[in-house]
Point group: C3
Chain length 279, copies 3
Amino acid sequence: MEQFALKNAVETVRASVPLVHNITNYVTVNDCANALLACGGSPIMSDEPEDVIDITSICGALAINIGTLNKRTIEAMFLAGERAAELGHPIVLDPVGAGASRLRTATAAELLDKLPIAVIRGNMSEAKALAGGAATTRGVDVCPDDAVTPENLAESAAFARDFAKKTGAVVAITGAIDIVTDGEEAYAVFNGSPVMGKITGAGCMLSCLCAAYAAANPGSMLDATVAAVSSMGLAGELAEKRMGSRDGNGSFRTYLLDALYRMDGEALEAAAKIERIER
Amino acid sequence: MEQFALKNAVETVRASVPLVHNITNYVTVNDCANALLACGGSPIMSDEPEDVIDITSICGALAINIGTLNKRTIEAMFLAGERAAELGHPIVLDPVGAGASRLRTATAAELLDKLPIAVIRGNMSEAKALAGGAATTRGVDVCPDDAVTPENLAESAAFARDFAKKTGAVVAITGAIDIVTDGEEAYAVFNGSPVMGKITGAGCMLSCLCAAYAAANPGSMLDATVAAVSSMGLAGELAEKRMGSRDGNGSFRTYLLDALYRMDGEALEAAAKIERIER
Amino acid sequence: MEQFALKNAVETVRASVPLVHNITNYVTVNDCANALLACGGSPIMSDEPEDVIDITSICGALAINIGTLNKRTIEAMFLAGERAAELGHPIVLDPVGAGASRLRTATAAELLDKLPIAVIRGNMSEAKALAGGAATTRGVDVCPDDAVTPENLAESAAFARDFAKKTGAVVAITGAIDIVTDGEEAYAVFNGSPVMGKITGAGCMLSCLCAAYAAANPGSMLDATVAAVSSMGLAGELAEKRMGSRDGNGSFRTYLLDALYRMDGEALEAAAKIERIER
């Protein structure tokens, strides 16, 4: 990863203020909107089938998150996705809870099958469920057995590369160690904080950031995704450092948004912990 | 604007604890509820057609926000609106994204047509879209070309006055400079902070405040709306002043609610920047 | 209440990380998820009828909150509830606004009738509405006439005991003074802060905590509920104490989550204000 790409990715988001159409869950939607604003983007939420085609048409990217999917919003996901595809807008898929229910697994798989998804952002259990592996998703969190560790990093990266090749998408599998790959190049991102798992929405916010970064950096989907992933990880580190003795996940959540808001391309380059993963 | 009216408007909200029925979007709904509690009101959310008539009947005002409208909630908006109208409750309309999609523009226009809307609170692009002008809404934010500036203030006020006359509603067009008019009198409110545009929900929260102020100050719709608009603007100023070097939109959002919670009628009178706009 | 039970209840939640399936309102859902994470549980939200059976199957408890019920989510409540019942998972019911509309009262009553509800957590007006009393719910807040006071504590406890016996559930009626009873034993919990009524969601969060505590402490439903109620009350006290001169309900909400996150079994035993209510 050339350092220039990180700084450039961050700055082009702030300079271009990408509009991102989000069809997302109602649990973390407010944080998603504020995270998009914090990074320099502009959020729009719409999930009514009759509304989404117009809305996605005026945006630069579409973020689909199945966290609280229902029949109506699933229909909206496909309609918006088809329109985004026609317009060449990048589509980010966050398959929340794939593997935890048949509806989630099937919906995520069908979205992947029918839409030209540019970026898949999920945890390893979700990725395995979608790749047809034997993942056992523990709700919306990664199953401990699936977590990426220093020991299984090479093997995990090989899986991610295959999944990216199979889907044609940039794959971002995030957790204590993040893996980002386009099927050829693969990077491990070591930024982050364990407290990110103690708030709801760190993953959802990151998926929205991926959409903003993708919209602002067309033709550089891999670099854009690495930049989004490392900027969220660094924001988590800064938020954790800021915690005082009485602070918990309430304050952490606020600090995380604050850190995204203050994120600076040069600071990210200085603090990013990104390693290229050789085959 | 007589100073007494501001202080009185603020204090009657705290004294009467108006119940406000909100049919609103799921993005900012939590902030809307907390903003209503902060100003002294009491929020109720209900958007199921079978539920809204009973709920609006026990309230003092109805706030309709089309930010994430769908077929079910649109039906609920009309049912609740008709009941509120029968009971003489003030109805506030926040036409989020009018101009950005046909469904939003048409729904907002039909709500305006069929219900006796007391207050319309939106940005200039949304107002122009509803007034039949050639606005191009940039998602849910005002189109830069539509922003109210010192240079176009007179012209903008004339438009707002016409829109108010045409609709019979008090019109509050908010942005860097806010305009509030009942078609006769018009005021510019210069309170506010640019950081308000960096969180989601500042407009939505204000619309809910307008509903609480309208419920608590019947017969003074214009004064009540000016008080709500200036109190939100002042809260934004206080929140911005409180920001430290690591604070971003996460902390600002918290400080904004805090400032609403601490808002005092006399402090508002001292800090309000309201000017009557002559024809 | 033996002191050991409190500490043990808190610690078993952290040790077992119970997954809680929530079918809840979109107003406070983010706070509910963060409160569950703060206490040591893990939240999953799902309200699509086709999704809820799978989701509840992988969880340890089900929390049903009717705060923004609609036809689809009501169907999901019954489907998930029947599956949770088959699996022996504790079900917590939060009858938000029962008494405020016919749909809410009828839905809560039918849920109570058809499902083996383990814990009912609501305010006194909601409880009276469900018990067939003449409560007049003031929206989602308790009607002042219904509030539990030192003067009516014995009478209120008698009502709560009867309601618990009639329903077979542990009943937690919360307010300035909380009453928790299984129909035999009854406790008054005096922990809490008046600022809890100035944010949205204190009750909703508590209901989710009750579900996590119930899942982690099977066979001790009464102790688990008393522990959840007193831990939320203590968190409110700690949050209020932390408020500075510019803090309002925005900061309080953050501090409340922080206090839940830092909650410690021994600290709770030291600060809990629980009294056994004799018949």
